[in-house]
């Protein structure tokens, strides 16, 4: 078990290194550079030259990447080309916001999805099953920004219960904070719910035809304990995989929700950074997202192993 984990963590770092290189050279080959992005179209050639000189943009990309890598290995993620502020200082509050929103959405979505998935599996073919699957297909087929707009229209404009702006800042009490991110959380829950419910239902149903389920039935167990005590633990592996995939989306994929709810998350920061070719910031955001994603996959694999006794002492 430990050997396996060490290997996976090692692979994780390798992945992060490759991602940082990929992001660097991809952003670098995009048209324009940070000087042009900063000064805009009115920039005079002299002003552009001054900035480029001060930020050492003249050096070849490879050299700049090596400088950046060397600095990172010493724990210094460098300063933003656009603002000169420490990249970590810019990213930390926003990444905390992203994790907070993703965490809250996960706490609501995962149990709800498992519950609905199990319930649908239990009464497969019944009215509840059809209702749940229609709800899932509906949420899948509506773009997330549209769900966001509809929620804002209903809850903050019409009913006025909840603010449509999820602008988090120091001065807010916990209640205000939760109030502010309620609508974005509901949007995210609806977006990831469907995939998890359908996969949970499919995983449980595929296990329901196993001989030990028939045996449990012949032992006179209720359908509820049949599904919860016997089917669910054995359907855990595919369910954990789909939960990890969706948690990854909650962290990595929510740029659009951040725009609609004006939520100061890391997604928009990264999009801004790419827009301005602010390479150190792009790298920092990219690595933060990648580390979270690789970490999530690792945890998912370990949990999957723990749940399956056969692999526990592998």
């Amino acid at each position: 078990m430990r050997g396996l984990i060490a290997a996976r963590v090692g692979m994780g770092f390798l992945t992060l290194a490759v991602i940082s290189a990929l992001l660097f050279f991809a952003t670098d080959c995009l048209p324009g550079d940070v000087a042009a992005a900063l000064l805009g179209p009115q920039a005079t050639p002299e002003a552009l030259a001054t900035i480029r000189a001060s930020l050492r943009l003249g050096e070849p990309a490879g050299l700049r990447y090596v400088h950046w890598l060397a600095a990172v290995l010493h724990g210094d993620f460098g300063r933003s080309l656009a603002t000169g502020r420490s990249v970590v200082a810019m990213l930390r509050p926003r990444f905390q916001n992203t994790l907070a929103l993703a965490g809250l959405a996960a706490i609501v979505a995962v149990p709800l999805a498992l519950g609905l998935g199990v319930a649908a599996a239990m009464r497969a073919g019944g009215r509840l099953d059809r209702a749940v699957s229609t709800l899932c297909l509906l949420t899948i087929s509506v773009p997330e920004f549209f769900i966001g707009y509809l929620l804002i229209l209903l809850f903050s404009v019409q009913l006025g219960w909840l603010p449509s702006l999820a602008v988090l800042h120091g001065g807010m009490s916990l209640a205000q904070r939760l109030g502010a991110i309620t609508l974005p959380t509901i949007t995210l829950v609806l977006v990831v719910l469907a995939h998890m419910v359908r996969m949970t239902r499919a995983a449980i149903l595929s296990v329901m035809s196993a001989p030990y389920i028939e045996m449990a039935l012949l032992k006179g167990l209720t359908r509820g304990s049949l599904v919860l005590r016997h089917a669910l633990p054995n359907a855990a592996a595919p369910i954990i995989a789909v939960v990890a995939l969706n948690l990854g989306y909650l962290v990595v994929g929510v740029v659009v929700v951040e725009v609609v709810f004006v939520y100061p998350g890391a997604g928009q920061l990264m999009v801004d950074a790419v827009g301005k070719r602010d390479l150190p910031l792009v790298q920092a955001c990219g690595l933060a997202f990648a580390a979270t994603y690789v970490g999530l996959n690792l945890v998912a694999d370990i949990v999957a192993m723990l749940v399956n006794p056969r692999l526990r002492r592998a």
Binding site: T15, F146, P238, V256, V271
Partner: protein
């Protein structure tokens, strides 16, 4: 014919015969902005004063063709790589899986943005980009499915006979993986609609004046604040096609899992 089959059939005929069915030209301006439904415009007009019904019909053609091509590319690439990784294992599996993990961990909008900004926003590049990015997700599912089949005896029997890798993948593994892959393809087809819509958030997406349902939801979204239902038409169209396709997949799965069909 079940309800969902009828819905999908209607949408496909609309897609195939768009130019003949549509009452007006794809980009023809016929009225004011968001005019209410009338005799001349059954579903009213869109954000530029074009006939909504015409846009939906042409939108069907573009959406189904683009999403269809992208899905085919995504599923084709994802399944091929997934099966290879499962069948060969070892360094092939490790290499491809790490590569996929890299692509999966970069926010999808950022990767799309980089590729489209660098290579230009043509239709081919758009479909290739969506296909490539979505194939990473198909890969993970296909690999998991193939790994359960590769260990079966009949695969060993084929390999023992000296069969080549391609034969084993295509004739031994693929037929058994089809049911599960069908479920994944159904979902992927719908996710790709939404991908096109969110791309238009970055000013990307297909070249105007072509219509696609995802972008139409995007363009007409503000109307809801005026109590107008303009964006609901494309949104409903996407919902109907998504539910229709996935219900048909469920029906195929039920048929597949009946005894005799193993």
């Amino acid at each position: 014919m079940s309800r969902s089959a009828v819905v999908v059939a209607i949408i496909l005929t609309a897609a195939l015969f768009a130019p003949w069915l549509a009452p007006y030209g794809e980009a023809q301006f016929v009225g004011g902005v968001w005019d209410p439904p009338s005799v001349r415009h059954l579903l009213g007009t869109d954000n530029l004063g074009r006939d909504m019904l015409t846009r939906l019909i042409f939108g069907a053609r573009n959406t189904v063709s683009i999403a269809g091509l992208a899905t085919t590319l995504a599923v084709g690439l994802g399944v091929a790589l997934g099966f290879l990784a499962a069948a060969l294992g070892g360094w092939v599996d490790a290499l491809v899986s790490r590569g996929v993990e890299i692509l999966l961990s970069i926010p999808v909008l950022i990767s799309a943005l980089m590729v489209l900004a660098a290579l230009g926003n043509s239709l081919a590049v758009l479909i290739a980009t969506i296909g490539l990015l979505e194939s990473t997700r198909v890969y993970t599912i296909a690999r998991a499915i193939a790994r359960t089949i590769v260990v079966r005896e009949f695969v060993a029997a084929a390999r023992l006979r000296g069969e080549g890798l391609v034969w084993v993948l295509a004739r031994e593994i693929l037929p058994n993986a089809l049911p599960a892959l069908a479920a994944e393809t159904g979902l992927r087809f719908s996710f790709i609609f939404l991908f096109i819509a969110s791309l238009s958030f970055l000013g990307l997406g297909i070249q105007p004046p072509a219509a696609d349902w995802g972008s139409m939801v995007r363009e007409n979204a503000p109307a809801i604040n005026f109590g107008l239902i303009a964006p609901l038409y494309p949104a409903t169209a996407i919902a109907l096609l998504t539910i229709g396709v996935n219900r048909l997949v469920d029906r195929y799965l039920a048929a597949e899992s009946r005894p005799g069909a193993a």
